[in-house]
Structures are given as structure tokens and as C-alpha cells.
Amino acid sequence: MKAEIISRAGVYPKLQIPYLLEAVQAGFPSPAQDYVEQQLDLNELCIKHPAATYFVRATGDSMIGAGINDNDVLVVDRALTAQAGDIIIACWNGELTVKELQLKPYPALLSHNQNYPPITLPEDAELDVFGVVSHVIHRFR
């Protein structure tokens, strides 16, 4: 795999979601300000809808084949409408669970690990989807 350097990362201040509207403080502009480019913000990359975005932590190995490992943080965007093939957080048996949504040939929740059989959904039942997983945050060390 080839890695490409995009830019030097800046120091990211802690960013709260949702963004709160606050008055902009007036101050002395730095003369260098015109030449400063905006630092890259991971929030910008991972969070499209701050008010609709929640973080959850994955436990277990049922989604290991989809690149979700035990203890990974998942970014969940409720503003997205779940489609077939999406990794979603569903409410199932009174619990939150992370699975792939299958609609055809029949609706089911799929694990990405052979040890876990798919959960077939009854045709007429309505699935309670908590949100769509948009990103996985995995820690290597």
C-alpha cells in the first residue's frame, strides 16, 4: 500500500458537537493572517451533520471482516438514510447492534464473521435503525 502525505497535521483543539453559535470575539488581526491556511480538522472529515452525529464503541468480533475491531469507535450519522449494504446501528432485541443491512433477496442483518449467522428480519416488521455508521476510528497502538 502506498501512503501519500496530504499535509502536516495541525494541533486540533477539542471540538464540541454540536457546534454552538457564539459571538465572534473581535481582536487584533495578525499581519500573517492572510497567509495562514486553515488547519486540517478531522471533524470536518468525519462529521457532516454535527447535531445528528453520535459516537459509539464496538465490542466483540462480529464485524471484524468489515474492518470493525473490538473497541473501535464508530461515527454514527443519523441524518443518513440507511440503504442496502450500509453498516448500521440497529435496535435489535432491546440492544444496539452493529451489522450490515441486507434488503435483497430478503431483509437481514449480516455479521462480517463466519461464526455469527445472519439475523433474518420478518418481511412485515419495521426495523428500528439508530443510525448509519459513516466512519470507523481504529487505534493501532
Binding site: Y54, F55, L96
Partner: protein, 431 residues
């Protein structure tokens, strides 16, 4: 006044109110609680302050002390939570910013309700449809159920919201733009459900034969003003569809700051009550600086538990006016200590204490007094800045020795749910 140019459009307000807000927050990450009765308790796990529909159906009233319904809780397996303010504040912010993105103007009225200005919205979409769009967006994005009331005045919008909550067949949205619909709802609404009409006014109105909202709307305005106040007259006018209250987009600056708590267990010594008060005044001073105000008046109060009549009762307060307004925690801490000594009496089981800051001045508007100089103030401001900055990153990282961490006065919150959305260690887990 004559408006020149475009004709002035009739105002249109919406009141968006979250359903059983605290309960809805607790349920968000707990699908197992969707159909089960849920209660949220007040500070110190004392009384029910939020109830799910299932809990209401069991006859549990707002404010019921939990110890009185112990059996009911066990019998129906009711889930009880301590108030999780960190969670509710975060979810509230999400609800408000979601609405804000959809409406021309917003007034956040409380943690779970907001007024929106919908003037002109009906040019592109029907108000009823727009109400449903708002409601669905908040439900889809944030996950919180709401009701929407729409009307030409704020008081009617409140009433419309009441109707949307009370009658499920409305689908959670009531549009009262039409005078005929207003009349219909006013006629079947008890007068005590009208915004701003409290228990005492209700009793007096009923004695005059006014028991429905419609009767209040049709009452003689002059009589209302004379026998009650201009406020009630304004309420009647608003019920008639005449808009008297505008949207307050910017919250008015506070006139006073109160920090008080009931204690987890009775407090007997002056040392522990002073430790509690020191925390309260430190918090109050922090709020004061956040509001960029200086206070001249400080009140300290303490009392025993009025519900425990078997113990001797005592309640007292003392107010002190400073020569110079201040926002310096050190000065306020010393004064609080001083004042608490003046009213503390040994031998009582104290159950609540608090501080109140009042008589506010804006930075720099007060005059130098003859006897005190302001020389120490610039340094004071720097010190307080550092304090607030550090504590802004981690609450309670820096504190004064007199505050004494983790004493017995701390709030009892035994059934607190995780800080699902504000602490990494506590985010929801999924399998």
C-alpha cells in the same frame, strides 16, 4: 406607526416542545426501555420530574416523592434515573441547532422548548406540512420526539402545542392560524393550561366564572387589567390573536445568579456547610464572569428539611451589599464564609443551602468609591481568567482550599446513567 413599502406580514410563531424530554434522552441509547415505564428523579433522587407515558398511565403525578411510590416502582418494574444534566444539555443543544437550521429565527425558551419565527414560511409550504418536517427532522437526526404548535401569537402557539400533545390524532402538530380552529381549541381548554396563568390566578378567575381559555379570551380587558394586571390583559389579547410578545432572540442578561442544592444527607457542622457554600459561590462567580457582570449584592441562606417535622426547624438568610461590585472569587468566598457564620446555628439538621448574587453592573460602568481603589482589579481579572480557563477544560481542576472536594454535601445521584455523549469512556457500546 405607518410602515412604508411592503405590507407588514402577520406574525407566525411555532412552539417546539420535546415530549417527556429527560425520559426521551434516557431512552435514546436504551431500546429496551422503549415500552417500559420510566421516571427521572429530581436532585438527590427526591421526586419524579419526568415521566414516560406508561408511568403517567400508572397515575404517577409530576413531583411525586419517590419514597411514596416505592411499591408501585417494584410492582411495575419502573426504571428510575437520577437527573443526568450532562446528557440532557448535550441533547438539548442538538435539538436546538437542528431547529435553528430550519427556521428564520429561534428563541430557546428552556432546555426542552423553543419558539421559532415562521413569518413568511407559508409562502413556500403549508404550515402544517412545515410543522411535520420540523418534527421529523428532530426525530430522525437527534432521536427525540417533539410536538409543534403553530399560531399567530406566542400564547396561542403554546396552546396549540398543548393540543398537539393532548390529542394524538393531531400527529403531534397543530396549526392554529385559522381563527375558527383557535376558538374550537380555546373552548375545550381549561384556563389553567394557558401560558402564564398559575394556580392562584386560576382560582380567582374561576370565582369570576372564567374556567376555559375561551372565556378568558372573551373577558373584558379593562376588568382584567384592573383586577389582575396588564400581564393577564396581554395574555387575553394574545389569546384573541393579537400578537403582543415578540421573539426574544437574544437572552436578556441575567438579573441574578442563584446556586443552591439540597444535600445528599443532613449537614450538621458549620465546617461542612461552609465547604458546600464555598463550592456554590465559586460556581456562581464563574457564571458571573461568564456573563461579564460584576455583582454588588450577595445573599447566603440555609435551611432544615421542612418535610421532616420531627426535627427542629430553622431557616435563615442574610444579604450583604458591597461598596464595590466584584467578580473576584476570593472576595466572594471570604464574604460567604463571613455571612454563613452569622446565620449558622448549631444543633440543626441542615438540608439545603445556597448563595445568590444580585445587583449587577457591567464591566467598567461603576464608579470608583472614595475609600477603595481599583488597583488590584486588573490582576484580579488575570487570575480569574486563568482559573476559568483551566476549569473550562476540566471542571474542578483548580479550586480554593475552602471548597474541600467530595464532602457529605454532594448530591445523591445513585441511578445516574452514563454521560453517553460527553465522555469518551462512557459512549454507548454496541455488539
Amino acid at each position: 406607526m405607518l410602515s412604508i413599502g411592503s405590507a407588514k406580514r402577520a406574525p407566525c410563531f411555532a412552539l417546539i416542545d420535546c415530549n417527556n424530554f429527560y425520559v426521551s434522552c434516557e431512552r435514546l441509547f436504551r431500546p429496551d426501555l422503549r415500552q417500559r415505564p420510566v421516571l427521572v428523579a429530581s436532585n438527590n433522587d427526591g421526586c419524579a420530574v419526568a415521566r414516560s407515558a406508561e408511568a403517567k398511565a400508572l397515575g404517577i403525578k409530576m413531583g411525586t416523592p419517590l419514597f411514596k411510590i416505592d411499591d408501585l416502582i417494584k410492582q411495575h418494574n419502573i426504571e428510575v434515573f437520577s437527573s443526568n444534566y450532562a446528557l440532557y444539555a448535550d441533547i438539548s443543544n442538538r435539538v436546538m441547532s437542528t431547529i435553528e437550521a430550519m427556521v428564520p429565527q429561534l428563541e430557546v425558551y428552556s432546555i426542552d422548548e423553543a419558539f421559532a419565527d415562521l413569518t413568511g414560511v407559508d409562502r413556500s409550504v403549508s404550515l402544517d406540512t412545515f410543522g411535520h418536517q420540523l418534527r421529523n427532522r428532530i426525530s430522525d437526526w437527534v432521536g427525540i420526539p417533539t410536538c409543534v404548535g403553530i399560531a399567530p401569537t406566542k400564547t396561542l402557539a403554546k396552546l396549540a402545542n398543548y393540543g398537539a400533545k393532548k390529542y394524538p390524532q393531531t400527529g403531534g402538530v397543530v396549526d392554529l392560524s385559522h381563527p375558527q380552529r383557535q376558538r374550537k381549541l380555546l373552548a375545550i381548554t381549561p384556563v389553567d393550561e394557558v401560558w402564564g396563568v398559575g394556580r392562584r390566578i386560576t382560582e380567582r378567575l374561576q370565582r369570576m366564572g372564567i374556567s376555559t381559555a375561551l372565556q378568558l379570551a372573551e373577558a373584558d380587558l379593562k376588568t382584567l387589567r384592573k383586577q389582575f394586571s396588564v400581564v393577564l390583559e396581554r395574555t387575553a389579547r394574545e389569546l384573541r390573536g393579537e400578537s403582543c410578545l415578540a421573539l426574544e432572540a437574544l437572552p436578556a442578561s441575567k438579573k441574578q445568579i442563584v446556586v443552591s442544592r439540597s444535600f445528599g444527607s443532613p449537614v450538621l457542622t458549620i465546617e461542612s456547610i461552609q465547604a458546600a457554600l464555598a463550592n456554590f459561590i465559586a460556581r456562581a462567580a464563574e457564571k458571573l464572569r461568564y456573563e461579564q457582570q460584576y455583582a454588588r449584592q450577595l445573599t447566603v441562606f440555609m435551611r432544615t428539611n421542612p418535610f421532616k417535622q420531627q426535627h427542629p426547624q430553622y431557616s435563615n438568610s442574610v444579604t450583604h451589599s458591597l461598596t464595590q461590585p466584584t467578580q473576584d472569587s476570593r472576595e466572594l468566598l471570604a464574604l460567604t464564609r463571613n455571612l454563613s457564620e452569622r446565620i449558622f446555628r448549631a444543633g440543626y439538621h441542615y438540608n439545603k443551602a445556597g448563595v445568590m448574587l444580585a445587583d449587577f453592573y457591567q464591566t467598567g460602568v461603576f464608579q470608583q468609591s472614595l475609600f477603595e481603589t481599583n488597583e488590584a482589579k486588573p490582576k484580579s481579572r488575570e487570575l480569574m481568567n486563568v482559573l476559568d480557563k483551566v476549569n473550562g477544560k476540566q471542571t474542578g481542576a483548580l479550586y480554593f482550599a475552602s471548597q474541600q472536594k467530595s464532602s457529605s454535601w454532594h448530591m445523591k445521584r445513585e441511578r445516574l446513567s452514563p454521560a453517553y455523549t460527553t465522555r469518551w469512556a462512557e459512549i454507548p457500546r454496541v455488539k
